[in-house]
């Protein structure tokens, strides 16, 4: 059994491990356990038959007892994940020795340290190293997803409703961040970038995000001078977001999960990063540009809200840098073929 991560980005980064487990001849019975709302991300492909979503309020430990796996590979780093696996009586519990849970694991990976502090390791790399604990070799860290046919079809209907012609290009934009306010680039900056991209390339903006991010989407749309489309709240399922990114010419995003959807579909992506360690996500950068405010003593702080109150890492991140990065990916003129 693999206990998949709880964050969208981490789950997408874990797909190389999940594929390796699904294909390994030594794995007789595979279950990919994840939070129910994330299950649509793995629909429509090789991994779907193995997915078991956890329902709201469902006991993870009870599920372990019911399924009685030989072992569980924990791709979540929380204390609770290890505790539940132990309480569920799973004999082999493999995971990262983080959050004080080493004693609950039977196989543990201790991340590198220097001067007693953890060295930031890309999450995709950490997942691959963890897979080695249970004998899985992960040859490629690049994530892969499939777009479920029904999600693609329903997206077509949504785009039609937004008066975006089939096959017309667009810039997908996910300005929200479930992590917290510290990762948010100001709405007016997103709006300025979308306006500039429309003027330069004729690509309209298409705003999407989690249902709870409607206010942020509305704020961006309000600041836009050119018309942008906002995917209605009821249409913003994960599967559809996945299809939406797969069809975009460019994804403009914060340091959040949708960035990894772009990586999984090889879609050019500009990601604005504030309080995070760039090393933690420094994989699959072939079609991605990470734009950061260099030279701030306080960054990266990894805080959910700016502890200094100025939020300079994001507020001072210039729109021009984002547009330069977009030009690098899309070329000086024209759009992606």
């Amino acid at each position: 059994m693999v206990r998949a991560p709880n964050w969208v980005g981490d789950l997408v980064m874990a797909t190389p491990v999940l594929h390796a487990a699904a294909r390994h001849p030594g794995v007789e019975r595979l279950t990919i356990l994840l939070r129910g709302h994330l299950a649509p991300l793995l629909s429509g492909g090789e991994l779907e038959p193995f997915v078991r979503g956890l329902g709201e309020g469902e006991s993870e430990a009870a599920l372990y007892r019911e399924l009685a796996p030989d072992g569980v590979l924990l791709l979540t780093n929380s204390f609770g994940a290890a505790r539940r696996a132990r309480a569920g009586g799973v004999p082999v519990r493999a995971g990262a020795a983080l959050s004080g849970r080493r004693w609950m694991l039977t196989r543990a990976l201790v991340p590198p340290r220097i001067d007693g502090r953890r060295v930031p390791v890309p999450t995709a790399r950490l997942h691959a190293d963890l897979a080695g604990l249970v004998g899985l070799e992960v040859p490629d860290l690049h994530p892969r997803l499939d777009v479920p046919a029904d999600a693609a079809a329903s997206l077509g209907r949504v785009l039609e409703g937004l008066e975006l012609a089939a096959g017309a290009g667009y810039v997908a934009c996910a300005p929200g961040a479930a992590f917290g306010a510290a990762k948010l680039w100001p709405p007016e900056h997103f709006a300025a970038a979308l306006d500039a991209l429309f003027e330069q390339r004729g690509l309209p903006g298409l705003l999407f995000g989690a249902p709870a991010e409607s206010a942020i989407l509305a704020a961006v749309a309000e600041h836009c001078e050119h018309p942008v489309r906002v995917v209605p709240e009821t249409e913003r399922s994960l599967g559809r977001s996945s299809a939406l990114v797969a069809g975009a010419q460019l994804l403009l995003v914060g340091d959040s999960g949708p960035r990894w959807l772009a990586a999984a579909f090889d879609v050019p992506c500009v990601s604005v990063m504030g309080p995070n360690f760039p090393e933690l996500t420094a994989t699959s950068l072939e079609h991605a540009r990470i734009v950061r405010h260099a030279g701030l003593d306080c960054a990266p702080c990894l805080e959910r809200c700016c502890p200094l109150g100025h939020h300079r890492c994001m507020r001072e991140l210039p729109v021009a840098a984002v547009l330069d990065a977009a030009s690098e990916l899309l070329g000086p003129c024209g759009v992606r073929a």
């Binding site: 080493r102 190293d129 080695g132 249970v134 004998g135 090393e279």
Partner: protein
């Protein structure tokens, strides 16, 4: 990069050829950082003489410090160069006690390296590498409760060490090119021997009895099948001079088995790693075990078949997996990481001898479709 600009940095490069090749992305990033500050003369690259030639033509502004083949080194390695700044940082890629001791005795103010083999106290910045604990599933099937260093490509540890200097190293495959004169010399020989014909570069070397390499008798079926799969290609058997007898035996065996096929022994022409690199830049396909030449083939971007025997595959994970066919048998005894196979009889070195030659050859020939565009164009 957070180092004192008034101080120099000595980058002690690794001794094994494969590790040396793997350090190229770090050297590149480090050199660029110094060059951006106009201080490339303050960077010194110290490593085995033969390997340093692989960097010829690049990093021109950096000092080179060639170490003898014995690997002996002392505090003099860190002596202040004439007209240069005193050495402020020793970035130590080898994990040996000796390399750390040399920097310590030279009183280099900052000594950055991996803390293992009891040398952590000699370093100012000691990276404790990732470790795996508990019943690790790899390693001669031994279920151990104590921790051991996580097998991983050396490049990762190098990038972690560079992080101490505030330097980001891109997570990419190493790239090396021979100098124009070495390439021209090799090209001239190739032209006279195989003309314009494509060829498969075979690493035919290896220490006798080593579990990491195939004996001539063991390599013969694989190469014979490969020759049948790729009738248009010549086979070029490259060995180091010390492995000449082995290469000659393989050559003789294949000549008997494949009469009329173009077979070349390149032992006298691949004496230097740079020459082997030049061959790799011209080959259509490489065949090797998990040894130094594998890394030269990688650095040349050559599609290759790699047979993995007793080594943990995580040590040699490829950064361009689409170009590398890695064959490995899942055996209870593998990976054992031993220098000599402890088993006898039919199980002796089975991890490397047990491959289906026909299947391996068929899979390897399919790799030719992965030939990158720049190679196909011959540039």
């Amino acid at each position: 990069m957070n180092i004192d600009p008034a101080r120099g940095l000595v980058l002690r490069l690794p001794n094994p050829l494969g590790d040396f090749c793997s350090s190229e992305p770090l050297v590149d990033a480090l050199y660029e950082a110094f060059r951006a500050r106009g201080a490339e003369r303050e960077l010194a690259l110290a490593g085995p003489l033969g390997w340093l030639e692989l960097l010829s033509g690049r990093f021109a502004g950096a000092r080179r410090i060639a170490l003898p083949a014995s690997g002996a080194e002392g505090p003099r390695l860190y002596a202040r160069p004439a007209g240069g700044a005193p050495v402020g940082v020793a970035l130590l890629l080898p994990g040996s006690l000796r390399s750390a001791l040399a920097a310590f005795r030279a009183r280099v103010p900052r000594r950055i390296g991996v803390a293992r083999d009891g040398r952590g106290w000699l370093l100012t910045d000691a990276l404790r590498p990732a470790a795996e604990c508990g019943a690790a599933s790899r390693g001669n099937a031994a279920k151990r409760s104590w921790s051991r260093v996580l097998p991983q490509p050396p490049q990762r540890a190098y990038a972690d060490l560079a992080g101490r200097l505030g330097l980001g190293v891109s997570d990419r495959a190493p790239r090396l090119r021979p100098t124009a004169d070495v390439q021209a010399r090799v090209d001239a020989r190739l032209l006279s021997d195989v003309g314009e014909r494509p060829f498969v570069l075979v690493n035919a070397g290896g220490a006798p009895g080593s579990p990491k390499s195939l004996s001539p008798a063991e390599a013969e079926p694989l190469l014979a099948n490969l020759a049948r799969e790729l009738p248009e290609h010549a086979l070029l058997l490259a060995t180091a001079p010390a492995e000449l007898a082995r290469g000659a035996e393989l050559h003789e065996r294949l000549t008997r088995r494949l009469p009329g096929r173009a077979l070349l022994g390149f032992a006298d022409r691949a004496a230097l790693p740079a020459e082997l690199l030049a061959l790799a830049h011209r080959a259509a396909l490489g065949v090797t075990t998990d040894t130094g030449p594998l890394h030269l083939m990688r650095a040349a971007g050559l599609p290759r078949l790699c047979l993995i025997g007793p080594t943990d595959p995580r040590h040699s994970a490829a950064y361009d997996p689409e170009l590398e066919l890695r064959l490995r048998l899942e055996l209870p005894c593998s990976p054992c990481q031993r220098g000599r196979c402890p088993l006898e009889g039919p199980d002796e070195r089975r991890c490397l001898r047990g491959f289906d030659a026909q299947d391996a050859a068929a899979q390897a020939s399919a790799l030719l479709a992965c030939r990158p565009a720049e190679r196909a164009s011959g540039s």
